[in-house]
Symmetry: C2
Subunit: 344 residues, 2 copies
């Protein structure tokens, strides 16, 4: 503003430089910047960089048009910590305990009694039907706005075990870098989670940079109701869609209608998503996060250590399938310099 253009020559030069930057960017500066600074230089990092190069360089024989660049990510255990219990399950249990005084009958009634008694062993053995009953009483019977408000309130106060931090702190810094790097290269990044779609949508934009319309998850039935000109969507205690296992391939087709070029998971519940992704033409990137770092996070699955009580586990079968199919297993211990954004 206070700078005067001293001469025609200097103006020309500055205009030319400005033009160059506007038209071509600053290739040198970008090339030198590592887009994945929290990744060690191993096969996993190399595979990600090679995949982006192969699909986005115009000269590549496998160039993918920007409109078709899709990458899908499981959430629990892939983007944030899932051990010892999913965040959303903790939300459900907390809410159930808060509701208990209004429901004295729960003291005599399974699965509720186990939760109120803090019976961890019984909880770890809950069937899908048990969890559905819990979801029915804690996630339904209200409208969509009320549910979102409950989730927001819980996220603001709840602390994850061991780390004593908000759950949304426990996202994996290396995966945030992958999300960002793919988006910078024209990919649309989707979360494809077995967890609740409306639950994850509350924080997905803020935490992952993924907008609500790019969150695909499990859902319950909602019902439109218009009372005195005030429309609302009521959440009903009835399952609508289970976005897990084969449901992830179904959900991707239902919500996107395009096949991803890249898919990231960490358990058997992600197997079909990776298979569906791989079945397309051209280069595809399939990766599985392996929790083998007991010191910085948790070790379970093939790495042994903690028992893996989750529905979708990283079994030895999954490891064998990964080898057969050329899926890349990410070792948290070896591939990641940092686990969480708060790590030094």
């Amino acid at each position: 503003m206070g700078v005067r253009v001293a001469s025609s020559w200097s103006f020309t030069r500055r205009a030319f430089l400005a033009l160059t930057v506007l038209l071509f960017g600053v290739p040198g500066a970008y090339a030198q910047q590592d887009p994945l600074p929290s990744w060690n230089n191993g096969p996993a990092k190399k595979a990600i960089l090679a995949f982006v190069k192969a699909t986005t360089e115009k000269s590549s024989p496998n160039y993918v048009e920007p409109n078709d660049r899709i990458a899908t990510f499981d959430q629990d255990g892939t983007l944030w910590t899932e051990h010892p219990i999913y965040a959303q399950a903790t939300f459900a249990l907390t809410r159930l305990r808060a509701m208990a005084p209004q429901h004295p009958e729960w003291k005599e009634q399974l699965p509720f009694r186990a939760i109120l008694d803090g019976d961890r062993e019984a909880i770890s053995k809950f069937s899908e039907r048990d969890w559905l009953e819990i979801v029915a009483v804690t996630h339904a019977g209200m409208n969509t706005d009320q549910f979102q408000a409950l989730v927001k309130q819980w996220l603001a106060t709840a602390k994850a075990p061991r780390f004593d931090r908000p759950y949304t702190d426990l996202v994996y810094q290396p995966m945030l870098e992958v999300l960002h790097y793919l988006r910078q290269n024209g990919f649309r990044t989707y979360i494809v989670t077995g967890g609740g779609q409306e639950f994850v949508r509350v924080y997905s934009q803020k935490i992952y940079g993924v907008p609500p319309e790019q969150v695909i998850g499990s859902s319950i039935v909602t019902k439109y109701q218009n009372t005195n000109g005030q429309p609302e969507l009521l959440r009903e205690p009835k399952v609508f869609f289970i976005d897990d296992g084969p449901g992830k391939a179904v959900g991707i087709n239902l919500f996107i209608g395009k096949r991803p070029q890249a898919a990231f998971g960490n358990s058997g519940g992600d197997q079909e998503m990776l298979q569906w992704t791989q079945a397309g033409n051209g280069p595809r990137l399939m990766m599985l996060v392996h929790h083998d770092d007991a010191i910085r996070e948790y070790a379970y699955g093939p790495a042994g250590g903690l028992p893996d009580t989750h529905v979708g586990t990283f079994s030895d079968d999954l490891l064998a399938l990964a080898k057969t199919n050329g899926w890349i297993v990410i070792s948290m211990k070896d591939d990641w310099k940092r686990i969480f954004p708060f790590d030094k």
Copy 2:
């Protein structure tokens, strides 16, 4: 390429002009260009222009962030011709007739017999259950790729009655302009149709500039199957989701998770979508296309003329509701200079 830069001065001047254009565009040129040239200067056109101004000008008290700009459009009767019968219904009937030689039992069986006999009166009285049976045999029993191929093939050869042109020619030029104008102003445009989601996705990008992931529609169940390492999604003869009436509000929340600022429809099946849209804060645009042009297209609904045999009709009740709520009724006769892109 053959042009030499003659002097430092001329280079400076050209660089400066290039910079100006890059940085600021050519405001004069754009301001003079009418974004809706096929619309007459009536209340409908004015409402669209005022809405875009109110939601996208930074200085507006009702400015909407680009990420939240959502506009939803019904398809049949709103974006293209639906009379005398939905394009997709014709696809189903054509396919059913082609399959008939392999199904001699259909000759004795309703609803199939009515179609094979060409019994228009019986067809016009089909119940929802009848249509579901027709959809089951014509849209299911194949995988998603096979279904898309069938739709493509049909679109390439089928001709719409009266106009004797491909169905995809019968899109409304003024609505194409609205779609384009909203997108140019940062809105994401979604199709929210009672028709089949996978059917519309086949041509939505090419015809409307709307990508598959922004098409929300009715759907049948798909099942993931992996045979010898070849995964596919099989279409089953079972309804999964009916995206019509209250289902449009449910579908918008399910697929987008955001409330639209603008919604366009033409029948009772769009009523809840418009109510759901209007219930948000700030300026909202709700519009209904009224088919009152028997000369250039068809006249039905309150304009009388042809009987409206569709499931979702533009009834007198809907007209009254539009008046009460301030929804704008688009008169095809008065508001549109051109109906189809091929009109002079």
